[in-house]
């Protein structure tokens, strides 16, 4: 039984659980077995607590037996990117800095998943402090791409994407600051959704860039993504940037047979650097929409080429300040060499942070420093206004915008490690969405000749997750990409 369970969608697992054909404990055991079997090669998990997961599963079975099941996620294992707090569990951000840190509290998304009955399952690898696009910046391990272990899973939520793709978790949460959910989803061939800024609480998420970060779900189908998003979305009084918009039933609005939309194509997103195989796959997806009656319009996002620059100013500025708290005083790595308190900062932070984190802190400190603020930070915030305005103008014409998620499929490990700028440009199609605070989803839209997944990005209107998911579903319904699973034979 267990081998067949691991790739089933949440919707189907929920039925099996409801009908008593499988228990949550069995389901959890199947995922533990799968993880034990593949993770030594895949390296998606920083850690997992089998006993804790099984006891959550037993509690779920108890609820179901008592007729008190909490819905479709009750008893389903959901993996957590290791930047989301889970009370009593390690929280490392894949950094030496937090190697021994245990969080004393639940993030709001963790609490909400528990309330939905989900099993909080494992701590998933990432680029240290969510800074990167390949998960190679992790201080704990190098995660592989389940479709080709010599390649990266994308990042920064590479562990989350890989775990879902490889059947180690039915769904997972990641965080997306500049594409860190959508890009690894595309590279691993799963669905990944970045919500509108303010839809999902950031309380308990280790901050990278506060004005851009959002937590969102990974799953193997659009419907599973809708279910998971529904569980975590909603206003939270503990996050001042969380908004009060009503949360619709994303799953109920998913299938709208015969519905058509006006969809935008931005010329700026099909520019140089885009791999021809990726371009072709996305164009086939666009053709599909046309074939089901959608109107395809060209829209202009003229400030697109400034997005990466504005992003790297804003994100690094915010991170330089957000990461100041990691000083070895109250928690975290403390250098054994420090002569005094000031020395303690210099040495603890030098030893605790990896190269990319240091690089970004340095850049962010520089752009905020005396004499440079106006030229960099303030100007970037103004450019951000223009980028946001571009999108809002486009949304007067169209319901959503279709783009490639990533300019290329999964690249080889080490390929871009020495060239930060090349790595930053991996996020060229996803970053604008964060700057504008918009929702975006990546859905699988085919494979390269080398059998690497390709992702289609659908960008929605602010708080337009329901439409965005329905549009994604209208593609997915006719394309069985998510029925294909990686064999995990490589390397």
């Amino acid at each position: 039984m267990s081998a067949e369970l691991i790739f089933k969608p949440i919707t189907e697992l929920a039925s099996l659980l409801a009908e008593g054909k499988v228990s949550s404990v069995e389901l959890m055991r199947a995922h533990v077995a799968r993880t034990r079997a593949v993770d030594p090669r895949l390296q998606a998990f920083n850690s997992f607590d089998e006993a804790d997961a099984l006891s959550q599963a037993a509690a779920s079975d108890g609820r179901r037996a008592a007729g008190a099941s909490r819905g479709p996620l009750d008893g389903i294992p959901v993996g957590m990117k290791d930047v989301i707090s889970v009370a009593g569990q390690p929280l490392t951000a894949s950094s030496r800095m937090l190697a021994n840190y245990v969080s004393p509290y639940d993030a709001t998304v963790t609490r909400r998943l528990r309330e939905a009955g989900a099993i909080i399952w494992g701590r998933l690898n990432l680029d240290e402090f969510a800074m990167g696009s390949s998960t190679e910046n992790s201080a704990t391990r190098t995660t592989g791409n389940p479709w080709d272990l010599t390649r990266v899973p994308g990042g920064s939520s590479g562990g989350s994407a890989a775990a879902v793709a490889a059947g180690e978790a039915a769904a997972a949460l990641g965080s997306d600051t500049g594409g860190s959910i959508r890009q690894p989803a595309a590279l691993c061939g799963v669905v990944g959704l970045k919500p509108t800024y303010g839809l999902v609480s950031r309380y308990g998420l280790i901050a990278f860039a506060s004005s851009l970060d959002q937590i969102g779900p990974f799953a193997r189908s659009v419907e599973d993504t809708a279910i998971t998003l529904g569980a975590i979305a909603g206003h939270d009084p503990l996050d001042s940037t969380s908004l009060r918009n009503p949360i619709p039933d994303y799953r109920a609005g998913l299938d709208r047979p015969g519905a058509t939309w006006k969809l935008g194509i931005a010329r700026e997103y099909f520019a140089e650097g885009l791999d021809p195989e990726v371009a072709a796959a996305v164009e086939r997806a666009v053709d599909h929409y046309r074939s089901i009656g959608c109107e395809i319009r060209e829209v202009s996002l003229p400030h697109t080429k400034y997005a990466v620059g504005a992003y790297y100013i804003i994100a690094t500025a915010e991170c330089s300040s957000n990461l100041s708290r990691y000083d070895g005083v109250r928690y975290g790595h403390r250098s054994a060499e420090a002569a005094d308190a000031v020395d303690l900062y210099f040495k603890s932070r030098a030893e605790g942070f990896g190269a990319e984190v240091k690089r970004r802190i340095i850049l962010g400190t520089y752009v905020l420093s005396s004499g440079y603020y106006d030229a960099y930070y303030l100007r970037a915030q103004k450019v951000r206004t223009l980028i946001r305005r571009d999108f809002l103008n486009a949304f007067r014409e169209v319901d959503a915008i279709l783009t490639p998620t990533s300019p290329t499929a999964a690249f080889r490990k080490g390929e871009r490690a020495a060239d930060p700028l090349a790595m930053y440009l991996s996020d060229i199609y996803t970053i604008g969405v964060n700057l504008a605070g918009l929702p975006g989803i990546s859905v699988p839209c085919g494979f390269t000749r080398g059998r690497l997944p390709i992702g289609l990005q659908i960008i929605g209107k602010p708080f337009g997750e329901a439409d965005m998911l329905a549009i994604a579903r209208a593609y997915e319904r006719d394309h069985a990409w998510s029925a294909q699973h990686p064999e995990m034979n490589g390397a």
Binding site: S211, G309, V342, D343, L344, R349
Partner: protein
């Protein structure tokens, strides 16, 4: 790789409280030089009269009522402390 004209890496690393090795300084200077050269693209944007965006969807007066709630038990507060004395966090001497 291009070295940035006015990035004083020693000064910035000092502000950031990170000691960098000579190799790191050299590598970062070059890499950040590339990034800054790329970022310089932003200078061509006409931002006159454009308001900065601090929040994508700003709302005002997000606050809580002033009602005290329980915090962390002392042991939980100190659980991750690298060093403590009794119920206080301990650090090497602060030199004023």
């Amino acid at each position: 790789m291009s070295r940035p004209a006015d990035l004083d890496i020693d000064h910035v690393a000092r502000l950031a409280r990170i000691s960098l090795s000579e190799e790191e300084k050299a590598a970062f200077s070059g890499q950040l030089g590339d990034v800054l050269a790329y970022i310089a693209l932003l200078k061509e944007v006409d931002v006159s009269g454009v308001e900065p965006t601090a929040h994508a969807f700003p709302v005002e007066n997000v606050w809580a009522e002033d009602v005290a709630q329980p915090g962390l038990p002392v042991e939980a507060a100190l659980r991750n402390a690298p060093a403590r004395r009794d119920n206080l966090f301990a650090v090497p001497k602060v030199v004023e």
